[in-house]
Symmetry: C2
Subunit: 304 residues, 2 copies
């Protein structure tokens, strides 16, 4: 009996979809059936598109890992831990189904440390590759963008702007397995463990992930909180970079700074203090004692 190649790929993906937490019926019916306990859930979806979010000749396994990292970073920004996900693949016929299989393996490999099951998904032909993940997580007290208060200090994990440097390295090494210096672009580390500690300890008043550039995302947090941010500790180069670092920008009341630094040490998370929250609106840079308003610069899909 003829069976579509599409069905074969779906069977193959179902065979590697991990874990069974909450799952009553997984891949293979019209929809997945999930038994969820009562609670506060966090849902996000993030899409990578060929030429926009990754190089056209990128290796599919690494496209999958990057898609997973982008979505995990959104959960980290809420202080949430992942519970389950759905994967949608758009694939040009010329790529072949093995290409889709490698993307799926990349996604599941990146999710593996948290044992996140693939609840389901969809597969379609398309003119260019796109990868959409929908990720569900949980957090008792999700950390919003809107809780920053004057007097808070501003921190950022990792090295903002590193993804832009890594992308440049990747361009020179394209089509080959990534080297260590390409990881910040291709395989960023979701800051889930660190963010979970911030959430459990109520250590951050507001948080956002830096996905479109430090100044643009800092401006979004300031706007949501109705405050201004003075960013004296950030290098001016990183503020004007439109970089998708998937690092966390967050605000901390002074009494919690020691606990935040301890959480960073315990989870091996690089951390920099880059400024403070003040009354007002927008973002500013302090240099030689002078305060200069910054225009939020970053990535917008439709403004260029």
């Amino acid at each position: 009996m003829r069976r579509g190649t599409e069905a074969n790929l779906i069977d193959k993906i179902a065979s590697i979809s991990r874990g069974s937490r909450f799952v009553k019926t997984g891949i293979g019916d019209d929809a997945a059936v999930i038994d969820l306990p009562r609670g506060r859930y966090v849902v996000t979806t993030d899409t990578l598109v060929e030429r926009i979010d990754f190089l056209p000749d990128e290796l599919p396994f690494w496209i999958g890992r990057r898609a997973a990292a982008a979505n995990l970073s959104d959960l980290a920004a809420m202080g949430a831990g992942p519970v389950g996900c759905l994967l949608t693949l758009g694939l040009p016929a010329r790529r072949g189904l093995d290409y889709g299989w490698k993307i799926a393996r990349g996604v599941t490999s990146k999710m593996a440390p948290w044992n996140v099951p693939l609840w389901g998904g969809d597969l379609s032909r398309a003119r260019e590759v796109f990868v959409t993940l929908c990720l569900v997580g949980r957090a008792r007290r999700p950390i919003l963008r809107s809780g920053a208060r004057p007097g808070n200090r501003v921190f950022v994990t990792g090295t903002p702007g590193a993804a832009a440097v890594a992308l440049a390295a990747r361009r020179r090494n394209r089509g080959r397995p990534p080297r260590a210096d390409e990881r910040a672009h291709l395989d960023p580390t979701p800051r889930i463990e660190f963010a979970r500690r911030l959430e459990r300890g109520r250590l951050a008043t507001a948080m956002i992930d830096v996905s479109d550039g430090l100044s643009l995302d800092a401006d979004r947090l300031a706007r949501a909180s109705g405050v201004a941010l003075e960013l004296s500790g950030a290098k001016s180069g990183t503020l004007s970079t439109s970089s998708d670092d998937f690092e966390l920008l967050f605000c901390v009341a002074p009494k919690n700074i020691e606990a935040v630094l301890a959480a960073a040490r315990q989870t091996g998370t690089p951390l920099s203090e880059i400024g403070r929250v003040v009354r007002g609106e927008g973002i500013f840079r302090l240099k030689d004692g002078k305060k200069r308003r910054l225009a939020p610069v970053g990535y917008d899909h439709f403004s260029r």
Copy 2:
């Protein structure tokens, strides 16, 4: 202060995202925060891609409605009612953001009868339009594909193959507002109310939505249930059509047939009995007393 046009569209979509059921924090943070009661949930995702699932010059409002219908149909196939959704749009720069806005309005208008909130989503540039919805629903006892038993009767809602006829009509009228005879392609009716009655009354043993063609989806249900289906009542033309009707194919124990017919009357759902479940595997057609095995024919994204 400069704000991206992308942010403007997201704000606009947030303003029409309906209802607040379960929603603690909606569009505008890194992820949506949803308070869910304990229960059995059903999650599905379905994508429409330009040229594959709709004509390139289709009107965006109707693309949105069709995307919503496809996802609602997956929930109906489980006997579930919708709870919330996430919308991802891939948009070519030449289309402009107003095009995305019209798709979003189409989605929300189609979801409106069930008051389904838009929890969140994503927006990306792309070479061709794609629309991905992730839809969450609930059902106490979801109706799977795997419960059909010999002796059950086989029913189908609506008119299988109607979408193919309507697509042909749409091709002749393309670019203009759809006429009534184009609805089965462009604006199919999700059978949610009827399916909810089947679920609440435990009236169906197995169910699937006909999204890739009657014979292919009947074969999927037979395979999942470990049975064979004799399809004597279906017109042979409709069996060989690769049609995305979004109608329901389901199996009923004889004692429940009266209740099923009553549910169809009460919800205004057209219904046909097209066969019965027997021991064996695969799908058969009875004609002039002779039993002939049918090859499942239908849509596979990658086999042609």
